[in-house]
């Protein structure tokens, strides 16, 4: 017997949490002397009001789908992968190497190569924390945090000392050659005669992200590995009884997680910047946590939450451009969303559970009375 119907858990609680976060954000905007209602309108029009806006929203969303899926798949095996940021950075490195040093004949081949490389690099960056968790019991949260910093230092070193072209000022790789440039949504939709802003960076990586959603769904709910990952996540002791190797599950789920986080690089590094810069991830690895929490670790939920955060990001960028609300306001909103959907989950859940329990008691009482 559940305390609450499933729809309340999946839909009602995130919605209420989101509302709470929105109200608090509104108060903050009010406190700095801006009109929250106007801000909201600007955010909406700036993020979904034109194909240009959509182009940016979807571009951000693509990043968040990858990192959100990464966190989500790790959640299924009860691993908290807070290292998406570092894994995505390394994914970017993989993309850079593949794009710079292999002469690709066509973007489609380059995309396949870059996807593989980014996944490989991202997975490799998750491998050691995963191994240490599985074999030495080192807390994965702490090790992945540490690996974020190590990744940043490592990338910094490579960009400054190895990959920076001679004479360049900023630590970044050279521009990737033209055959590796991915078609943008403008090009893709244009082929079907649908007009779409040429300026926006959303690109074919979005389709890869959607494929990844489907792939993760199949993996988690339709394959044996997914079955084992979920079993392990729910009960490690039961998994051991069933002959599911904890080491194998931790390693595989974290490698997949790291790989997905790494794959984000085909969007931001290959699709947008077309070169690798410092801090190319811009915190998307952390937003993945919020996205996975909001999306209840389900690919569909992750997809929707990623779009939501894409809107938040693009809308927030617009706010920073046209109002006195600094861009950091997005970080505040993001923090509140994580706080309410993740940490203060029970604050919403407890009263709701009581409510549903009372409702049911009332119902049984009336049926019994009849």
């Amino acid at each position: 017997m559940q305390k609450m119907p499933a729809w309340a858990d999946v839909v009602l609680i995130p919605l209420i949490s989101l509302l709470l976060a929105a109200i608090l954000s509104g108060l903050v905007i009010l406190a700095i002397g801006e009109n929250p209602w106007e801000a909201l309108k600007l955010m909406i029009s700036g993020s979904v009001g034109s194909s240009y806006a959509w182009g940016y929203t979807l571009y951000y969303a693509t990043n968040f789908i990858f990192t959100g899926l990464a966190v989500a798949i790790a959640f299924h095996s009860r691993m908290f992968n807070i290292g998406g940021e570092g894994q995505a950075m390394l994914g970017g490195l993989g993309v850079a190497y593949v794009c710079l040093f292999i002469p690709w004949p066509h973007w489609s081949l380059a995309l396949i190569g870059a996807t593989a490389a980014s996944a490989l690099f991202g997975a490799a960056w998750a491998a050691l924390p995963a191994y240490l968790q599985a074999r030495r019991g080192s807390h994965i949260v702490i090790t992945t945090i540490m690996f974020n910093f190590i990744a940043a230092a490592f990338l910094n070193y490579l960009l400054v000392n190895v990959l920076k072209p001679m004479g360049a000022m900023d630590p970044a790789t050279a521009k990737f050659p033209a055959p590796t440039h991915l078609p943008s949504l403008h090009d893709i939709l244009g082929a079907f005669g649908i007009p779409f802003s040429k300026a926006a960076p959303a690109n074919v990586a979005l389709l890869v992200a959607i494929l990844a959603c489907v792939g993760v769904w199949l993996l988690v709910w339709r394959t044996r590995l997914g079955y084992e990952i979920r079993a392990f996540g729910h009960s490690e002791s039961a998994a051991k009884y069933a002959g599911i190797s904890p080491t194998r599950i931790i390693m595989l789920s974290m490698l997949i997680s790291g790989g997905l986080a790494g794959m984000m690089a085909i969007n931001n590094v290959m699709g947008e910047a077309e070169r690798l810069v410092l801090n190319s991830t811009e915190g998307a690895g952390f937003i993945g946590i919020a996205v996975a929490l909001m999306g209840r670790s389900h690919p569909l939920g992750v997809f929707l939450a990623a779009i939501l955060f894409g809107i938040l990001y693009q809308g927030g960028a617009e706010l920073a451009l046209w109002t006195n609300i600094p861009r950091e306001m997005i970080v505040v909103i993001q923090a509140l969303v994580i706080l309410f959907t993740g940490a203060l989950d029970n604050m919403v859940r407890m009263p709701l559970e009581k409510l549903f329990l009372a409702l049911r008691r009332g119902q049984t009482a009336t049926t019994a009375g009849e």
Binding site: G167, M169, A172, E272, R275, V277, L278, N279, S280, A317
Partner: protein, 302 residues
């Protein structure tokens, strides 16, 4: 550029130029401050889409993004400071920082009692080495026996905004005997000047006139008139002349600051010597070596 609008230095100077234009002409301008490299292109496009013209960007970091964007908006004029972008609708403004640095280097050498002076750069890039190299030449010109200690804050944009590190580097240089320190480090320089003032030694500001930050304790500032460049661009408006533009001593693009805050520090002798050198450089009689021309520097190794 990264480092923040109110770095009391480079970015603030650009902002001041824009504000001056706005107050004088009553015009309005849109501005945005960026947090990361990845946002540059988006901001440029957004401004171009919104019909802003001209668009001025302060900092070499915009070069790649601008190269991309400029072609997409041929009717918009762009101005980039500190970097050359070869597009028909772009005006590239670069400064002869080595010349200004030469002058303050002379002042430093003359003000120093220990014969040891320091240089603290921001991010270790050729541009900042250009500052350092000019400075070193000036120091050696005034005092051939002087020792120059040069440090860079870091290798990433974070180096523009790390006052703690600036402060630590200053202390390190002081312990090595430096009693005048030149900070060419954006926001990091705030920490350098602060620590120098706290420790009772002299410092030299950069870009804007920073003498007022610690009156009587900042020897001078190497001024780089980013504000003028911005002001001129805005004044010219859509009729802006594109192409390559060098701002040096000759056309007042760079110089050193003298005001009531440092009047007591710069003696008449010192002023005379520096002004003489300035005139020689302006006339081409004296050539200060530009690090960026061949990535070498006489008098300083990095």
């Amino acid at each position: 550029d990264l480092g923040g609008k109110f770095d009391k230095s480079f970015n603030e100077s650009a902002f001041a130029g824009a504000t001056r234009w706005a107050t004088e002409t009553g015009g309005t301008f849109a501005e945005v401050e960026l947090q990361s490299d990845a946002q540059r292109e988006q901001a440029l496009r957004r401004f171009a889409e919104a019909g802003n013209n001209p668009i001025v960007m302060a900092g070499f970091g915009f070069a790649t993004a601008l190269d991309e964007v400029a072609a997409d908006y041929p009717d918009t004029k762009f101005v980039i400071i500190d970097m050359v972008v070869d597009q028909p609708n772009v005006r590239s403004v670069v400064f002869s920082e080595h010349e200004g640095s030469y002058l303050v280097g002379m002042l430093a050498a003359m003000a120093s009692k220990t014969g040891t002076v320091g240089f603290i750069g921001g991010m270790d890039i050729p541009l900042i080495r250009k500052f350092a190299c000019g400075y070193a030449q000036g120091v050696l010109a005034a005092n051939p026996d002087a020792t120059i200690i040069a440090n860079m804050t870091g290798t990433t944009p974070a180096a523009w905004n790390d006052p703690v590190k600036g402060s630590e580097l200053t202390l390190a240089q002081i312990s090595q005997g430096a009693d005048v320190v030149y900070a060419a480090a954006g926001g990091t320089g705030v920490g350098v000047l602060q620590t120098a003032a706290d420790s009772g030694i002299l410092s030299i500001g950069v870009d804007s006139n920073q003498n007022y930050l610690h009156p009587g304790q900042v020897l001078t500032s190497m001024t780089k008139r980013v504000d003028n460049a911005v002001y001129e661009a805005f004044t010219a408006g859509v009729d802006l002349e594109t192409g390559f533009n060098v701002m040096g001593l000759a056309n007042g693009g760079v110089g050193y600051a003298l005001d009531e805050n440092n009047a007591a520090l710069v003696t008449a002798d010192m002023q005379a010597a520096v002004d003489a050198a300035s005139a020689q450089i302006a006339s081409g009689e004296l050539v200060v070596h530009d690090y960026m021309s061949d990535e070498t520097c006489p008098g300083l190794t990095f």
